[in-house]
């Protein structure tokens, strides 16, 4: 599959866009026209899972319930991700604009932003921006209201059904799926839940058109994406890049010359070692990411990296299902025992099997994705796990 060259893009933060114009034009279009535009653009969710955004909107619009909701998932908690904070700080009105256009398409009167507790300091500015936005909606006669609900430091609430539970005042424990949110989401009503970045792209697609967006990226990964780049890099920060680039080109641009591995997609993503940089495409056809790119140079112990991730999962597992609750604890105990020499190196194979079991038996994405980082780090850096 042909890959793309690394290219910086300026869509999300672009200042050459008056949100009022985009919104007024967008709201004038027919629902069918907007849906067609979003579907044609090939936009997929930017939170990590990558479900086609247009389909979410379409399915929800087809539901006949009177009460429907738009929810903006701003519970950005994946280690190494900080793009949603930046987006909410710099272009909050574009996020609201995306919510309003979605609300028009599906027929919702209320939208909710679920903001992680760690970002409480954004609250005052967001409230002010919402006030401005509501005033404009009133002026153009569009009936839609945005509310903010706060999280309280639980990573699992970024999982959509756990997020609804939390919004309903409960423990953030993921629900069984199906039914999916498009049928039964917040308050068991049809709900579109999109990541912060996805909503801005949807909004911008209404402005630039599906064609322009489609020119960027590859067949499986259309468009561009905001990356959160951290770790051993001289230029850590937020970058909007075209999807489909080779990891090799990425490291060439952002590495410090001694990059040994890149963790793509945070703790729940995959670790790619140097020897695979040239064969790895960043996108849904290769290694997908919600934006997190952590670079490690040769001075870093991959055992410490893995231990940090496993501890993270052990703490953040909601404890509801056994494979994830017990699995995370055992993975942590297991790698510590091997490192101390209390268990033989063969025990790593047993732990790999456990991780694979968690992948197929855990209830939600958290437990299912622990194996991603576990297996990719253990496979590629076995000697560092043992000695």
């Amino acid at each position: 599959m042909p890959n793309k060259k690394l290219k910086r893009v300026d869509i999300i933060f672009s200042e050459d866009c008056v949100y009022k114009d985009v919104l007024t034009d967008g709201l004038k279009k027919s629902n069918e026209a907007i849906l067609k535009e979003i579907l044609d653009s090939g936009l997929r969710g930017r939170g990590g899972a990558g479900f086609p955004t247009g389909l979410k909107w379409k399915f929800t619009s087809q539901e006949t319930e009177e009460e429907k909701y738009v929810v903006c998932n701003a519970d950005e908690g994946e280690p190494g991700t900080f793009k949603d904070r930046e987006i909410l700080t710099r272009v909050p009105l574009k996020v609201f604009g995306g919510m309003a256009i979605c609300a028009k398409v599906i027929g919702a009167k209320h939208g909710y932003i679920y903001l992680r507790g760690e970002y409480q300091f954004l609250r005052a500015d967001l409230d002010k921006a919402i006030e401005e936005f509501h005033a404009y909606l009133k002026e153009i006669g569009f009936d839609f209201q945005i509310h903010i609900l706060m999280g309280s430091g639980a990573y699992i609430c970024g999982e959509e059904s756990a997020l609804f539970e939390s919004m309903e005042g409960k423990r953030g424990e993921p629900r069984n799926k199906p039914p999916y949110p498009t049928i039964s989401g917040f308050r068991n009503k049809p709900t579109v839940i999109n990541n912060v970045e996805t909503l801005v792209y949807a909004f911008m697609i209404c402005r630039i058109g599906a064609g322009k967006f489609q020119e960027l990226g590859t067949t499986d990964s259309r468009g561009s994406k905001v990356f959160s780049i951290s770790g051993d890099t001289p230029i850590a920060g937020i970058y909007e890049l075209e999807l489909g680039m080779l990891l090799e080109d990425f490291v060439e641009e952002f590495g410090d010359g001694d990059t040994k591995a890149v963790q793509v997609g945070g703790a729940s993503g995959f670790c790619v070692p140097r020897k695979k940089f040239k064969d790895t495409i960043i996108g849904f056809e290769g290694v997908p990411t919600g934006g997190s790119m952590m670079l490690f140079n040769s001075s870093r112990s991959m055992y410490n990296v893995l231990k940090n991730y496993v501890e993270f999962f052990e703490e953040e597992s909601c404890g509801q299902c056994t494979p994830c609750r017990v699995g995370c604890q055992q993975l942590k105990k297991g790698i510590e025992a091997i490192k101390k020499g209390e268990k033989s190196a063969h025990y790593l194979d047993t732990l790999q099997k456990l991780a694979d079991t968690m992948k197929v038996t855990s209830k939600c994405g958290l437990g299912q994705s622990v194996a991603n980082s576990f297996s990719s780090i253990v496979d590629n850096f076995k000697e560092e796990m043992i000695y």
């Binding site: 190494g80 706060m150 430091g153 309903e168 423990r171 850590a236 920060g237």
Partner: protein
């Protein structure tokens, strides 16, 4: 504790008395009191007419809804790998020395609690910490000493 009773009533007046109000009310208690005591949980249960077990179960699920006594200022230092790589351990040691407590503890004068937390979303500017709701980034020895010093002088 009449103050707690009043606080819970005020919060319930503001957020409502149904299940959906529970989280905002608990968050409101933490903002005012820094933690949710057993008495406060019982009071919320009474005010919202739900079981205390339900309130307890919800509160203890969330790491920011502390149910143990906390200081006036709660320091949460990010322990995710990227902050760790940028010198988080050294920062932790400095704060422990300044406040003369270990991580997880509260100072005797109840002014500071020192905790570690998962990713705060400042990975490009690590090490990072929150003091209550305010974020501090790119910490080094001088910077963290100055910040903690300022707080210690102003309590």
């Amino acid at each position: 504790m009449p103050e707690i009773k009043e606080l819970v009533k005020d919060l319930a007046d503001k957020h409502g008395r149904n299940r959906e109000s529970l989280l905002p009310i608990l968050q409101g208690i933490v903002t005012e009191e820094r933690f949710i005591s057993d008495v406060a949980m019982a009071e919320v249960a009474r005010e919202l007419d739900m079981s205390a077990a339900l309130v307890y179960g919800t509160a203890t699920f969330y790491s920011f809804l502390d149910t143990e006594p906390r200081g006036k200022y709660v320091i949460r230092l990010c322990k995710t790998i990227t902050c760790d790589m940028k010198g988080k351990r050294q920062i932790l040691k400095i704060i422990e020395d300044l406040l003369k407590i270990n991580v997880g503890e509260t100072t005797k004068d109840k002014n500071f609690t020192l905790l570690e937390t998962n990713c705060l979303g400042w990975c490009h500017k690590g090490p990072a910490m929150l003091i209550n709701d305010e974020a501090f980034t790119e910490l080094d020895e001088d910077k963290v000493t100055e910040i903690i010093g300022d707080y210690m002088r102003n309590v």
